[in-house]
Symmetry: C2
Subunit: 88 residues, 2 copies
């Protein structure tokens, strides 16, 4: 029987890749008076649900999804959290 | 003395707001064979560092940053995690 999992995926630019959007946000925050803000990096946060046999099957599916579609492995890293879905 | 904090901010669309990008990703994943994927929602993930007197000061600064610039409170929710920065 398969279980539904709630998955949160964090896609971030690799540290060696420039992040112009992050630089723009940092400069915007400084103009608003937040002088101490540094190292702003902007990534993607993806939530989804999927069915899998068990947690390791879910992790394997997510790894493949990230490599194929959700992240660009040349310039981005990803990580994810999963937990069994409890319908309210 | 002020402390540096590493902050992770998650900006998500409010549940009542349509997410066309999420729908497109869901349909792309289904075409790749991930039939069980549902409820794809795409948000932003922002990392930054800031200096603050203490954790509650850091949280207050972040709340204001999110309301003013990082999130659009009309259509987005946000939450964040912070922890004191330990330089490697």
């Amino acid at each position: 029987m398969s279980t539904q999992y709630q998955c949160c995926i964090y896609v971030t630019l690799r540290p060696s890749v420039l992040d112009p959007a992050g630089t723009a946000v940092r400069s915007g925050l400084k103009q608003l008076g937040y002088e101490s803000v540094e190292d702003v990096r902007i990534g993607k946060y993806i939530e989804l649900t999927l069915s899998a046999e068990d947690e390791s099957d879910a992790r394997e599916q997510l790894d493949r999804m990230c490599d194929q579609l959700l992240a660009n492995p040349v310039i981005e890293n990803y990580r994810f959290d999963i937990k069994p879905l409890v319908r309210g």
